[in-house]
């Protein structure tokens, strides 16, 4: 069995599962946020009763993150609904807006707060829930109805996916990041190339990556249609997890005899910085091919490209210089935001590096990655051309449907912010 099959088998109390069969599994963690939480709660109450109790308060994690810093009263009401529900059910893992517990982007917060644990099964009401698979666990996104069923029973039906394996070999050059690797994969297999399947990332280059970079790989599995992205755990994984939680976990690994639907091999030393051109994540081009494209805006943020190391990479390029286009910096979480103020590069904090360069500094949240209410920080309002570290560039994704979004690595976005045109990071990295 593959690692994905083993985790699913373990959660339906079976020795073995086979791709294609549907099984009911026990969920270790259910995560929801301010966009899908309130409608999930409505369905939960409709189906289980107004006074129903959630199946296990310890296993429900609620992280408001989408529409936080907005005057939109419907959006603000949704946060109040979550707060009331958390109080009513005495939920220990609610991270309230405006409190010291507020975190920001749910997928990063799950990692930081120790909810990502090898061998476990996590379901979230967000398509990028596949991010958690970087920790050697099964994780996938669902809608409100499935989440409400879990809220009442702790169970969900899953079709066991076939696994596609992506093996990266060689030493990653300093001008490439995990974002370039996953954009290359999506460009090769297409936005539906992994539909209904697990995407397993393997090979020495993957295991040389930090947890943050690994999360960039699994995060974008959904952009190829994948059900889950997964990386088997190693010492880097267990060290990260042990620093964040005392909870037990079990490292599971695929068998030598595991069957894969397909296998793709990449020599990372031969890859180039890439972008996804408008308006699809699989519309890949090398940065060289689109170099010089005029830009109005740069954006660094989100669950894909708003982690500490994403900003660290961008700051390497931006330090001591000034951006020439509107450049938005949106840390995914409050912890990342604090790290930007605590860590220095040549004696200047990362936060100051960006601020001194003229970047616009935002608060931890999903920000403009998915557009959101019209007053969202950094949201596209017209026909802007933007280069962004986010995950999706379908029409209207970042707000205005007249806008054009290029997806790229933090290095490429930073290099482009300094020149105002799409720029290869190799030109500015010393």
């Amino acid at each position: 069995m593959t690692i994905t099959e083993k985790i699913i088998a373990r959660h339906c109390d079976r020795d073995r599962v086979v791709p294609g069969e549907s099984v009911w599994v026990e969920v270790d963690i259910l995560m929801t946020h301010d966009v899908c939480g309130p409608p999930t709660i409505d369905i939960f109450k409709r189906e289980f009763g107004e006074d129903a109790k959630v199946w296990d308060a310890e296993k429900l994690v609620i992280l408001p993150d989408h529409y936080i810093f907005t005057q939109n009263h419907h959006a603000n009401r949704n946060v109040r609904l979550l707060r009331a529900f958390a109080e009513e059910h005495h939920l220990p893992h609610y991270y309230d807006v405006g409190s010291p517990r507020y975190k920001g982007v749910c997928h990063m917060a799950l990692a930081e707060e120790g909810f990502n644990r090898p061998g476990s099964l996590l379901i979230g009401t967000d398509s990028h829930t596949c991010t958690s698979g970087a920790f050697g666990m099964f994780s996938t996104g669902v809608g409100n109805t499935d989440a409400a069923l879990i809220m009442g029973t702790g169970k969900i039906w899953l079709r066991v996916p076939e696994t596609m394996r992506f093996i990266f070999e060689g030493v990653l050059p300093p001008y490439l990041m995990a974002k370039d690797l996953i954009l290359a994969v999506i460009g090769d297999i297409g936005c539906d190339g992994a539909t209904y399947r697990a995407m397993e990332f393997d090979g020495e280059s993957v295991y040389s990556l930090s947890m943050q970079e690994r999360m960039t790989l699994t995060n974008m599995a959904i952009e190829a249609g994948g059900k889950n992205g997964i990386i088997a755990p190693d010492e880097i994984t267990t060290e990260y997890v042990r620093a964040r939680t005392d909870h037990d976990f079990v490292c599971l690994y695929g068998d030598e005899t595991a069957r894969y639907r397909s296998e793709y091999r990449y020599d990372v030393s031969t890859l180039e910085p890439v972008v996804a051109k408008p308006h699809r994540p699989d519309n890949r081009a090398s940065v060289v091919e689109v170099e010089g494209t005029r830009l109005d805006r740069a954006y660094i943020g989100s669950c894909t490209g708003g982690k500490f190391e994403d900003f660290e990479a961008a700051a390497q390029i931006i330090k001591g210089q000034e951006v020439v286009i509107d450049t938005y910096i949106v840390p995914a979480t409050t912890e990342i935001s604090e790290s930007l103020q605590a860590n220095t590069i040549d004696g200047t904090t990362l936060w100051d590096v960006f601020e001194n360069a003229g970047c616009k500094m935002g608060q931890a949240s999903c920000g403009a990655c998915l557009g959101g209410p019209s007053d969202t920080f950094g949201r596209m309002q017209g026909d802007e051309v933007v280069i962004s570290t986010t995950n999706r560039n379908f029409p209207g994704r970042m707000g205005s449907k007249q806008a054009s979004v290029y997806l790229a690595s933090p290095l490429t976005v930073a290099a482009s912010a300094l020149s105002g045109v799409i720029t290869d990071p190799r030109e500015v990295l010393v």
């Binding site: 829930t129 669902v142 409100n144 109805t145 557009g371 209207g396």
Partner: protein, 188 residues
Amino acid sequence: MKSIIRGLAYVVGDAIDTDQIIPAEHLVYSLNKPDERRMYGRFAMSGVPIEQQGLPNGHIPFTDPDKYLSDYTFVIGGSNFGCGSSREHAPFALTEAGAKVVVAESYARIFYRNTIDGGFVIPFESHEKINHQIRTGDELELDTRFGQLTNHASGEEYLLKPLGDVADILNAGNVFEYARQNGLINPA
């Protein structure tokens, strides 16, 4: 599931993601309160670029700007319909606008699952792309028992793929009813 469904076709292209089905800025509305939930019908498919709205000619809104209900019963798409986010607001919006059926060559996994488990539109798959053979406004008839789709405007007939196992959940109404009928959760 009704056995015969008749109505007008609304045709779109490939990779219609959930932001095109219902733009993220509208997700703030309650799916429960009647005066708010109808906004999902008003804004259904409003994220599709105007020239792609209602093919082959485009420039046809799914729901007229001053209305909450669409004239169209069938949404006809191409490949990877419903890709992108996990928002159940997407199939909900189509249903709230009055659509009953989506026919596409293929679906993104979460959207497909949401349509079934929530008991929204019925997601049929075609054996090949048919969104270039059907025009927005064509009168269609679907026999859901056999997956037989007839275009009365052109006279063409299409045999759609069987729904398979998920028909049991569709026939039950939604995943909760299915779970109750199969003893997986207690009767309401």
